[in-house]
């Protein structure tokens, strides 16, 4: 395996959790809901996924548990913001704080235990093919799932009637309601989908990226995923590009430490966070991109007339 190939492989593994968490949040925001609980749902996915895989010995049961954990946290968020019409920013924060706390408690007995690593696939047995073999055909199943999910979401949003309804609800919940669409039900479904994706992203961290449980192992990735959605201007294609850019930045920091260039490791570790800020500045200065695509009712609660 060449050095470049190894580099690209690590970039893919670092980008996948961003892509998984962000594609879910993209759908949530397209329906007009801002869920700041991504970090909390993701870390709950990581701990439940790891725990379930450790107990059962099956990484796939771990994945299932992670998805359920993400969905459960998302349901809490959805119940508060959609049924009780609470402030979305504050509720999202509470989901993140609750998720970080609960995962620490659940995981306090899991620290240091050996994990179940998800085995890479060998699609069509082409893993051994020279040059692109491992890169294209020898990835982890969740990597393929993340790419299929992105394609699926793009198709759903732009090519299906249900996707059109989701976008309509996000643009103007009043109009969508007047047309007879069930705004709250649409939003709740999107929120739960987002939770499943965030849980899956967490599972990828604790079952594949580093198959173990470390407290707060998401390390702000959920927040970066939120920034990615803004950066993508709510477009799935750009989101995938953004996720891979951020994965590259994340890995560059690690590589630079290994190369031993004379920059303290802490500065390199802060690169992804600084890059997030820079990315947000770049996209926000481009008014055309950022205003046109922003779901018009993003973050506003909807109270139907009774």
């Amino acid at each position: 395996m060449t050095g470049l190939e190894a580099f690209v492989l690590t970039v893919i593994t670092a980008s996948t959790p961003f892509l998984l968490a962000a594609i879910g949040e993209l759908v949530v925001e397209r329906s007009g809901v801002l869920n700041l609980g991504v970090e909390g749902m993701m870390v709950m996915g990581a701990v439940c996924g790891f725990g379930a895989a450790h107990l059962t010995g099956s990484p796939w049961l771990g994945v299932l548990a992670a998805i359920l954990a993400g969905a459960a946290m998302a349901l809490l968020f959805g119940f508060l913001t959609q049924i009780l019409i609470t402030n979305q920013v504050a509720t999202g924060l509470s989901i993140t704080l609750l998720g970080l706390g609960l995962s620490g408690l659940i995981g306090s007995n899991l620290v240091g235990l050996p994990g179940e690593k998800m085995q890479p696939l060998n699609v069509f047995g082409l893993n051994e093919m020279p040059i692109l073999g491992t890169l294209v055909f020898g990835q982890d199943p969740l990597v393929y799932i993340s790419i299929l999910l992105t394609l699926g979401v793009a198709y759903f949003l732009y090519r299906t009637r249900a996707g059109l309804i989701v976008r309509a609800v996000g643009q103007s919940h009043q109009s969508a309601h007047s047309l007879g669409y069930k705004v709250i039900a649409v939003r709740l479904s999107c929120i739960v989908f987002g939770g499943c994706c965030a849980g899956l992203a967490g599972a990828y961290l604790s079952l594949s990226y580093t198959p173990q449980w470390i407290e707060n192992m998401t390390a702000g990735r959920g927040w970066i995923a939120l920034a990615l959605v803004v950066f993508s201007t709510w477009m799935p294609g750009r989101l995938a590009i953004g996720a891979y850019l951020f994965g590259t930045v994340w890995i560059l920091g690690l590589y630079a430490q290994a190369w031993g260039i004379g920059i303290p490791s802490q500065f390199l570790s802060s690169l992804p966070y600084l890059a997030t800020i820079v990315a947000l500045i770049l996209i926000s200065t481009n008014r055309r991109l950022s205003v046109v695509n922003t779901p018009a009712s993003l973050g506003q609660g909807f109270v139907p007339d009774r």
Binding site: T91, L93, L97, G101, L102, S108, W223, Y273, I277, R306
Partner: protein
């Protein structure tokens, strides 16, 4: 005929529920906490007693309560002002750390300067550092319209890494056996203790001062009025000529300065030196304090004391029952969750509806 419960909008927000809701939330947190203890195979009542009541039963722990509540109240009352104006500074933890770094420059770089003035300079530098760090999201919001939530949060990670580098690198104590710690702060580089040989330090005076001044500002000055108008009705604020840009600066600088002050108070008080971790997430817990205290500085003071109990209680159950002290963050998260839930009752009332026969059965338009 089936019945269902619906939310019905009140004509006016209920002032009673505004104050009842935090109590309801605390009750729900205690019940949910008991269930969690039960699920962990612990005696729930005993654990709850150790968690919530035991910290209030000894002089030592009461002092510790005040010490832990101080940074929470200081940060919380700054955040309360910002949240009132709908400005979401969630990076107080980072501003706290940078304040601690700025203030510590005096004992670390000018260790021989022993005078009360040195302490004053430390406190001022702490506030300055926090304000400067809070100025970054303010600048980005005003200049580039970047949402302050994400930028202020990202800067927390940057601040943590910067502090980590400083105490392992340039500011490490040369005689500290390579531990990642700065020199210990001595003499006038520490906040004087005000009660005997206990733990309560001068910082508490600053905390009370901040609470009183902010309460006065919010209720008696035009600035407070401006904040409430911009937060409650931004368009009305714009017509009244209040500047949203200036408000962003004001709120982020103020909440940043108070978080920075809390940071230097922590290192010049209970911690006593710089080290990689100087705050058990005070900056994030203060968000809960602000909401529980109804975004009002007197309320924040009471809420800060309550959240301080959650830290002591977490340590208490860890020592007595061997439960992970992570319960602290679970209780804190649940509390915020339940407050937001109960706050719905301020604007809505629950109503039992028995389903009526539909009037327009089959009468849809062609």
């Amino acid at each position: 005929m089936s019945a269902k419960i619906i939310l019905e909008k009140r004509h006016n927000a209920s002032p009673m529920m505004r104050y009842l809701s935090p109590l309801l939330a605390i009750g729900l947190t205690v019940i949910a906490g008991g269930l969690i203890f039960l699920a962990m195979g612990q005696p729930p009542l005993k654990a709850l007693y150790l968690y919530f009541i035991d910290p209030l039963t000894s002089i030592w722990s009461l002092q510790e309560l005040v010490v832990k509540a101080s940074p929470l109240i200081l940060i919380g009352c700054g955040l309360a002002v910002a949240f009132r104006a709908n400005i979401w500074n969630i990076g107080a933890e980072g501003q706290l750390l940078i304040g601690a770094l700025f203030g510590s420059s005096i004992p670390i770089l000018f260790g021989d300067w022993q005078s009360p003035l040195a302490l004053v300079c430390m406190l001022l530098l702490g506030a300055l550092g926090g304000a400067l760090f809070g100025a970054i999201p303010a600048l980005l919001k005003n200049r580039f319209r970047v949402n302050e939530i994400l930028t202020s949060l990202m800067l927390v990670y940057v601040a943590q890494l910067l502090l980590d580098w400083m105490v392992r690198g340039p500011w490490r104590d040369p005689h500290g056996y390579n531990f990642p710690k700065s020199v210990s702060f001595e003499g006038w580089h520490q906040l004087p203790i005000i009660i005997g040989n206990g733990r309560v330090h001068m910082g508490i005076i600053l905390v009370i001062l901040a609470v009183v001044i902010l309460y006065w500002m919010m209720t008696k000055t035009i600035k407070g009025f401006e904040i409430r108008v911009i937060g409650g009705a931004p368009r009305a604020g714009a017509f009244a000529g209040f500047s949203q840009t200036r408000m962003v600066w004001f709120c982020l600088l103020l909440s940043g300065a108070l978080a920075g002050l809390a940071g230097i108070i922590e290192v010049a008080g209970p911690v006593g030196q710089l080290q990689p971790s100087i705050s058990p997430n005070y900056g994030f817990t203060a968000i809960i304090v602000a909401f529980l205290g109804r975004l009002n500085s007197i309320g924040v003071m009471m809420a800060g004391l309550l959240l301080a109990v959650s830290y002591l209680g977490g340590e208490g159950v860890q020592i007595e029952l061997g439960i992970s002290d992570k319960t602290t963050h679970v209780f804190q998260g649940m509390l915020l969750f339940f407050i937001l839930m109960c706050d719905t009752l301020i604007y809505y009332r629950l109503r039992l509806l028995s389903s009526m026969p539909k009037l327009t059965q089959g009468g849809s338009l062609p």
